[in-house]
């Protein structure tokens, strides 16, 4: 449906490089990356607000690289919604319909339908300045959806919305996608990607460094950056050591991990999920278990309990529940053991990761 081929764009001190991606009909594709990764610039290239220096953009097999914005059939909802402040909600929504010179009856019908879909019928005579963030979001969506876009581009749609409204917006976006709307959604929030996307592209420094299903990206991050982005905090660059009947990995700070028996390259990244790490004062039993002595550095309350940062030379992050905290009453400065079975560790190839993470 939408395809970009080796798109490059130089923007002052920043460049989008070799962007190749394909979005299929009905996809909910999330572009994930932190601020300054080039996500918004890529959206502007796709919808034609800027032109690439090189590369090609296709929609339904037809090249649109130099096609005017007005003729691409791509809708864009801006992060700050960009509603027209001097128009009412109705005038905002019917703006594109007036351009297309639709009859008043048809325009009214379309506005009414879009307003109903977005649940904003009661707001039609209001001006944007006295709408809430969530209402503005729905008006901006209605304004774009009346154009029947082939692809809907959403630039950080949750960024200007209260946390309490995010769920309803998420439901609305999922419904739109279920009804067949192809969506490309830009965000910096991995949770948002997991809850909405069927495919994810991770952007970093103007490149797409990993693509796949959200679960793929989470389980097999290609490098340290993606791992961090996916919310994985325990990742370690290690050198692998193989002796007669054991395999282990050792970090630069000499933290040593016991690994399952396998063939390992010379070095790589090890990832351990925060919830898979146990924290105790005496260490966990089991001959294969990794028990690493450490000191509690910080205890931070989280939604589900506490996140405890422990210093073992390298830092480990451990999630514990409120009940575990009540039972153990950990305090900063205390000596503890971090424990995890060898199976809790995932291995990520160093060469790929290193190359990408240093870009």
């Amino acid at each position: 449906m939408l395809r970009t081929e080796r798109v490059n764009k130089h923007l002052g001190s920043f460049s989008l490089r070799e962007i190749t991606l394909e979005v299929f009909p009905g996809d909910y594709y999330v572009l994930l990356g932190r601020s300054g990764a080039g996500k918004t610039q890529l959206l502007e290239l796709i919808c034609g607000l800027t032109a690439p220096d090189s590369g090609h953009i296709f929609i339904d097999g037809k090249e649109i690289t130099r096609t005017r914005v007005q003729d691409r059939g791509i809708g864009l909802v801006f992060q700050d919604f960009a509603l027209f402040p001097h128009y009412t909600v109705r005038e905002n929504i019917e703006y594109s319909l007036k351009i297309r010179r639709l009859s008043k009856e048809e325009a009214d019908q379309r506005v009414g339908h879009a307003a109903e879909e977005m649940n904003i019928t009661h707001l039609l005579s209001r001006k944007p300045y006295n709408l809430s963030g969530g209402e503005k979001q729905r008006v901006a969506l209605a304004r774009t959806l009346v154009t029947d876009p082939k692809v809907l581009l959403l630039d950080e749609p949750m960024a200007s919305v209260d946390a309490s409204l995010k769920d309803s917006i998420r439901r609305m976006l999922r419904r739109l996608n279920r009804e067949g709307q192809t969506i490309i959604h830009v965000t910096h929030d991995f949770g948002e990607a997991i809850s909405l996307a069927n495919r994810v592209g991770v952007m970093h420094n103007g490149r797409i460094i990993q693509e796949g299903t959200p679960l793929d990206v989470f389980n097999h991050p290609v490098n340290r950056f993606v791992a961090r982005y996916a919310g994985i905090k325990n990742f370690f660059r290690v050198t692998f050591i193989k002796s007669y009947n054991t395999c282990s990995g050792i970090t630069d700070k000499t933290t040593k991990f016991r690994l399952p028996k396998a063939d390992y390259p010379a070095s790589g990244l090890l990832i351990i999920g925060s919830s898979e790490v146990l924290l105790s004062r005496q260490g966990a039993p089991g001959i294969q278990m990794n028990n690493i002595q450490a000191i509690i550095d910080d205890i931070v309350p989280s939604a589900t309990g506490y996140e405890i940062a422990v210093n073992a030379g390298d830092y480990f992050y451990v999630d514990i529940t409120h009940r575990e905290m009540e039972e153990n009453n950990f305090v900063p400065g205390e000596k503890v053991f971090v424990s995890f079975p060898p199976e809790a560790m995932r291995f990520v190839g160093e060469s790929n990761g290193k190359k990408n993470s240093e870009q």
Partner: protein, 269 residues
């Protein structure tokens, strides 16, 4: 707190002195003139004609030049091009020129031997010593006020609203008239008022271009030269009152609109 009080006092006194400096001469002029003198002068057809001519020409000059000044302001706000700073300098030039010098420069341009004047004469229009010449002189010195205010207005329009209109299928001209201009309108109107007010009070450039038809500032000057300060004072009072009336009227209209827009912006923030 004591320091702050002293600071406030000093600033209040300094501010009051400046305000007094502006008000005192005007108040003195009003106090030194009797009501009957002002009334008699107001009934003088020559005075009435000069005030009328001043208002009509200043207003016409503002309207006509706004047709080019507003697009220029938009270009200055939205486009990057080589030598943009030089162009901005050219726009500001009339503000720093001595107005008589501006008049001389303009005279060379619009007299029969000048580029514009020669072309206008071929079309049967004489630019010197008539209303058209006065309008050009007024516009020359007052255009920067409109261009700069409108430029600031266009620059303050969120570019995203223009981009959004583009993605919704609007052409650049439609975006200008339906998105950019309505949002920059208050600044454009404010610039319009400033240009009108500045043009209306112009003397230096106008007197070089056209002594007749006599605009109010020239009439006041002529009465002062011929009959002295006592004769010039009532004419000055009448012109000040008329100018103030129109200035306050336009300003009020623009402020009402600005208040509406500002409340929208505040709510949006």
């Amino acid at each position: 707190m004591k320091g702050q009080t002293l600071f406030t006092w000093i600033f209040t006194v300094l501010a009051a002195l400046v305000l007094l400096f502006i008000i005192a001469p005007l108040a003195g002029m009003f106090l030194d003139s009797s009501f009957s003198e002002v009334k008699t002068t107001a009934a003088d057809p020559e005075v009435q004609r000069s005030v009328w001519v001043t208002l009509v020409i200043a207003f016409s000059a503002t309207i006509i030049f706004a047709i080019g000044a507003v697009p220029l302001a938009w270009i200055m706000a939205r486009r990057e091009f080589p030598l943009k700073k030089v162009v901005q300098g050219i726009i500001d030039l009339p503000v720093v020129l001595p107005h008589t010098a501006a008049g001389i420069a303009l005279l060379g341009f619009i007299s029969r031997d000048g580029l514009l004047g020669g072309a206008a004469q071929k079309a049967g229009i004489l630019l010197v010593n008539n209303g058209a010449g006065i309008a050009l002189a007024m516009a020359f010195v007052s255009l920067p006020f409109l261009i700069n205010a409108a430029r600031d207005g266009f620059a303050a329009v969120p570019e995203r609203t223009e981009k959004a209109a583009l993605t919704l299928g609007a052409s650049p001209s439609r975006i200008f008239f339906t998105i950019s201009l309505p949002q920059a309108w208050r600044s454009v109107v404010s610039g319009f008022i400033m240009m009108f007010a500045r043009g209306m009070s112009e003397f230096g450039a106008v007197v070089i271009i056209a002594y007749h038809p006599m605009i109010a500032p020239v009439l006041i000057y002529e009465r002062f030269n011929t009959y002295g300060i006592k004769a010039a004072r009532p004419a000055s009072i009448i012109f000040i009152l008329v100018a103030l009336f129109f200035f306050v009227l336009f300003r009020t209209l623009a402020t009402e609109r600005r208040t509406i827009f500002r409340s929208e912006d505040d709510a949006a923030d």
